[in-house]
Symmetry: C2
């Protein structure tokens, strides 16, 4: 029930910080002893091992892990990790980064669930910063979980929840509580933006909501068991 | 009134695509003739020149430009461009990318208005994909301007607008039109999430809104001159 971060370079390190910040259990694997020492000194669980070896993945608990980040420096190494990890545990969610779009295609075919291309992302966002500075500022603000800021969250409706089977409109209390329901994602995978208040909430639905952390936690208590 | 993209590598290319897609005037500068040919073949305005030279920036119209993206491969070259461009036109908005957080600090001190660190961004987002997959999916969906999808936009209230001086609540028509007002950014720079309906709209305010493109355009016609 933990996450595995393969590679403690620039990408892996920042993923690890994010897990640490959100108190999510995770384990770092890196073949470089100095990097492992850095992770350990930062208070993380880390293991000196070659993540492209099946034995290392087994030792890292790949069978009971929830997800894995392949963040080695080369596309080839990451592809190798993805094939190995998916063979050992087909249920595992595996995400990685690619140097180029074409490499990204190969990594997806190898079984990666999500592939990010950092330079493409950065290019698009630099243009976006110039074209829509306040939107970017707002998204950054909304994405960060720090302090008491506004955050975007996904909240899953449980079958035991008091609000299951009622309509979004019946969640009127939410209006006053400062939570915005941006979208609803039905179990079919269909996502509806700004959903109709008459829409009925079913178990398994995800509400994509935005609001201050404390208000979101109140909502979570209402719709999750 | 155009944007200048320095460097047509992985970062610059994706920034240029974004400008092209949104029909924004821009010019690409790259010292490599083959890259310039690629940009030209893609229908872009491009110039073979060394962006670290003042003459190149002058020729690219740096005096009348709105913004510049420094996207060369090295932090040192980008720092040089930023110092040169800001000296030639202090009003210019200059954005860039850094290989590491420490280099980012130097680029900011040199005058960069925004500095993105692609590997840090990718690392954080890979963790985010595992922790909050539907939020990430929704943000990606919301950020993309393609097709008829839902987008996030900033809309500036003009002094001539019919709604200037009225309250957000008086924009009741918007509710029905499927636009969500996420936040308001006052001219003071203060941004308020989920603003109170009694808040008065003033000229110069930015509304951060979300909705389908057609609905947002209708809103823009209402509150911009
Ligand atoms: Ca790494
Ligand atoms: Ca580039």
């Amino acid at each position: 029930d933990h996450f595995i971060v393969c590679g403690y370079g620039r990408v892996g390190r920042n993923a690890a910080y994010e897990f640490q910040r959100t108190a999510t259990p995770f384990l770092v694997i890196d073949r470089n002893e100095q990097r492992v020492a850095k992770a350990t000194n930062a208070g993380m669980l880390a293991m000196a091992a070659d993540a492209t070896q099946d034995d290392s993945l087994r030792e890292a608990g790949v069978f009971r892990a929830k997800g894995l980040i392949a963040a080695l420096a080369s596309d080839a190494d990451n592809l190798f990790i993805i094939l190995s990890a998916k063979a050992l545990n087909p249920q595992l969610t595996v995400v990685t980064r690619a140097s180029e779009e074409e490499a990204g295609e190969k990594l997806r075919r190898a079984g990666a669930d999500t592939v990010l291309t950092p330079f493409s992302m950065a290019g698009r966002q630099l243009a976006d910063v110039l074209l829509r500075p306040h939107v970017v500022e707002f998204i950054d603000f909304a994405r960060s979980n720090m302090g008491t800021g506004v955050v975007m969250e996904q909240v899953r409706v449980s079958s035991q929840a008091e609000f299951t089977g009622k309509t979004l409109g019946e969640l009127t209390e939410l209006r006053r509580s400062g939570v915005i329901i941006l979208a609803i994602r039905k179990t079919s995978g269909d996502t509806t933006f700004n959903p109709d208040p008459n829409l009925e909430i079913a178990a398994g639905d995800f509400l994509i909501v935005m609001g201050e952390r404390a208000n979101l936690q109140r909502l979570e208590r209402l719709i999750t068991a």
